[in-house]
């Protein structure tokens, strides 16, 4: 059969087959219920006793971050004999699909898993997670020992559902060479400084732009930050609100960058990053995960917290990884093992910081070792201002039309107000 036919069959049947996998594949009991060959399992080096309580720990760290978490798990396993953590990495793009299947069928279900904090309310509302308060207090973990934002977000009906691991806010990357050539000594921190800097940085003759405005990803991190900074909201408590004057003003600000020639027009997916890597884009806002790419490229870049462009307050959109426990885990030994492991991680997450992430544990944040990590401690500098996606069921599909309409506005296909009105109209259709 031809490749295209097979592709057709596989793509077409994908939606049909996933539920099938849910029942068929997880029933085969071969110890790898996800059906994907790429799950990596950690074989503990020091598990001799055989009596150790084993917990299955799932994570989506299939990128360069995986080995760092594996190192933490290995250290934990060799540090004691009572418990053993079995570490599984699922492919990042497939993570929640695999998780949904494992949770809904209950077979090969993890005992502990990583979850993005903005997914916690959804899974909690579907009755999939258990509060971690008791487990934490028995293990001696204190909610006050972590950055406040994820704790607050994942506290539902005064019960805590996650132990935070890290927070990854949008940050500002800038090209140090271009800054020097333009005679700018410090990265901009507010709108006036930013507008002045990008104008100085733009050099038409050399094809250098001050700030290349992305039209697609990572606007998901940039645009919410701008709206919040300007005193607007994406969600006002009962309705989508991105056609408010505060939000529209920020759309217009982005479009003006293009009109003024500070950004080229028609920037495609990753176009701003390509220009940044070529030294033709002086500034970009992106996540901490870009660090390794810039390091590998040998770029002379700096990092700073995202400047306050809006006129109301400091704010920056962030994601956050945390540990959550499925509701179905009831075995007391396992819960004790989970608590013990999490206690270990929150005391020892410096190894995680080495992956480039700014960790959420105050103890680590305040340690001299962490403060010595220039990049990570800069990222942690905006922890007080981070905000997560609105806590609304199906937010991902509700907000989806915004990204297309925002790109329409930045590309100059629609006036800012009209694009946002259209986005709101489409989003309302998805709310029900």
């Amino acid at each position: 059969m031809s490749k295209r036919n097979r592709k057709k069959a596989s793509i077409l049947a994908m939606t049909l087959m996933v539920p099938l996998l849910a029942t068929a594949c997880s029933g085969n009991g071969n110890g790898n219920g996800n059906g994907s060959g790429s799950a990596a399992e950690n074989q503990s080096s020091g598990g001799g006793s055989g009596k150790a309580t084993e917990i299955l720990f799932w994570s989506p760290f299939s990128g360069s971050d995986g080995p760092f978490m594996k190192k933490i798990v290995d250290q934990y396993n060799s540090s004691q004999d009572a418990y053993k953590v079995k570490f599984v990495i699922q492919p990042n793009g497939e993570y929640y699909k695999q998780l949904d299947v494992a949770l809904s069928t209950g077979k090969e279900r993890p005992d502990l898993m990583i979850m993005h904090v903005d997914s916690v309310p959804t899974y909690q509302s579907k009755d999939q997670l258990q509060p971690v308060d008791d487990l934490a207090s028995q293990a001696g973990i204190n909610a006050a020992d972590f950055a406040e934002a994820p704790i607050k977000y994942a506290t539902i009906d005064s019960k805590l559902y996650t132990i935070p691991l890290d927070i990854h806010p949008a940050v500002m990357y800038y090209n140090k060479d271009l800054f020097e050539q333009a005679g700018i000594s410090a990265p901009p921190t507010n709108r006036a400084e930013f507008d002045a800097a990008v104008e100085k940085l733009t050099n038409k003759d050399k094809g250098v732009y001050g700030y290349v405005v992305p039209t697609l990803w990572p606007q998901q991190f940039i645009f919410p930050s701008l709206v919040w900074q300007n005193g607007g909201e994406l969600w006002n408590g009962s309705d989508v609100a991105y056609n408010s004057p505060e939000a529209v003003e920020m759309v217009q600000w982005l479009r003006d960058m293009v009109e003024k020639g500070i950004s080229p027009g028609n920037v495609q997916q990753d176009g701003e990053n390509t220009l940044f890597l070529q030294g033709k884009n002086a500034i970009q806002f992106n996540g901490p995960w870009m660090k390794s790419q810039f390091d590998e490229a040998g770029l002379n870049y700096g990092v700073a917290v995202m400047p306050q462009i809006g006129k109301a307050k400091k704010a920056v959109y962030a994601g956050s990884h945390g540990f959550v426990v499925p509701k179905a885990v009831t075995d007391a030994d396992k819960l004790a093992a989970i608590g013990d492991f999490l206690k270990f991680v929150s005391g020892d997450s410096l190894a995680w910081a080495e992956s480039g992430q700014a960790v959420a544990s105050n103890k680590v944040l305040e340690s001299p070792e962490f403060k010595a990590l220039e990049f990570q401690s800069t990222v942690a500098g905006s922890f007080a201002d981070v905000q997560f996606a609105p806590n609304v069921l199906n937010w991902g599909t509700i907000v989806e039309p915004l990204w297309g309409e925002l790109s329409n506005a930045i590309l100059g296909k629609k006036p800012a107000q009209q694009a946002m009105d259209d986005a709101v109209a489409k989003s309302r259709q998805a709310m029900k």
Partner: protein, 295 residues
């Protein structure tokens, strides 16, 4: 036929039959079952809801309705633009290759077929680099020649041109190989006879080549149509459905419905409606072409 011989033939078919049943028939039937349920990915109870998933897709004004029909319209545009090109470019390439000296034929056949072996993500990385508005190869080339850059992926109709160009580059090898084989099946004597009758190249093509390869043409047309209906990776990776949502094809929406919204029941209903539509189109194509053959 003796029963032992029947049994032997059955045994030969059995492995295929088992795989067909397990990996194609069963999932499809199971998909039909799911499409009749309120199948929320995270809940363990899936109530039977009859045709209500289908009804909400077909009722104007619902979210599912706009998701399905907006996506379907985009996919239909892609099918309309791409299928004729996938057929005629492949045929032209096949004829071109057949006209080459035998020594280099194999080499070029390999070249044209090579992209077919690439995965979608590799294809996307290559084309993102080629097409980048401000830093891409093609626009730098245009700039050298004194032309303005073209917004390949951020403006229509260029986004369509790029998606179809990338699709042709990526998949044309398969159709080309089929056509090469078909062209080799055309009896040489017929060309000779036509030459003696004074036929030129064009009338030889129309009166000898085309009628002989018509069954293959039908096959290529139907498989290309099916493949084009299932367009997903190219817009998902190259344009992300943009600009705006002009290239947001149906399968992107179906997968969103299944995994972002976790409504697998409704997503399965969409997939089944889509499959029925593809079948209907294939039957029409088959009927139309077959009628020509009888005439």
């Amino acid at each position: 036929m003796k029963w032992t011989s029947r049994l032997t033939s059955f045994l030969f078919v059995l492995p295929y039959l088992a795989c067909f049943g397990l990996f194609l028939l069963f999932p499809i039937l199971y998909g039909v079952v799911i499409s009749l349920q309120d199948f929320e990915l995270l809940s363990s109870e899936h109530a039977f809801v009859g045709l209500s998933n289908y009804i909400s897709i077909l009722t104007p004004g619902t979210y599912e309705n706009s998701l399905f029909f907006r996506g379907l319209w985009t996919t239909a545009q892609f099918v309309l633009y791409s299928v004729p090109l996938l057929i005629f470019v492949a045929l032209a390439l096949a004829m071109l290759l057949n006209a080459l000296p035998a020594r280099v034929r194999g080499l070029f056949r390999t070249f044209y077929f090579l992209p077919y072996a690439l995965s979608a993500s590799v294809m996307a990385v290559i084309w993102l680099m080629m097409l980048d508005t401000n830093a891409g190869f093609i626009n730098s080339l245009l700039a050298r020649l004194g032309f303005a850059g073209i917004p390949w992926l951020t403006d229509t109709p260029w986004a369509w041109v790029s998606l179809i160009g990338a699709t042709i580059w990526w998949t044309i090898g398969f159709n080309m190989i089929i056509f090469i084989n078909a062209l080799n099946e055309v009896p040489e004597e017929q060309y000779e006879a036509a030459s003696i009758d004074g036929a030129g190249a064009w009338s030889k093509f129309v009166s000898v080549t085309l009628p002989t390869i018509r069954p293959v043409m039908l096959f290529v047309m139907i498989t290309s149509t099916i493949a084009s209906f299932n367009i997903y990776a190219q817009p998902f990776l190259l344009t992300r459905g943009g600009p705006g949502d002009t290239t947001r094809v149906l399968l992107i929406n179906v997968l969103d419905q299944a995994f972002a919204r976790k409504d697998v029941g409704s997503a399965s209903a969409m997939a089944i409606l889509m499959a029925l539509l593809i079948m209907a189109v294939s039957v029409v194509q088959f009927k139309l072409t077959n009628r020509k053959e009888k005439a």
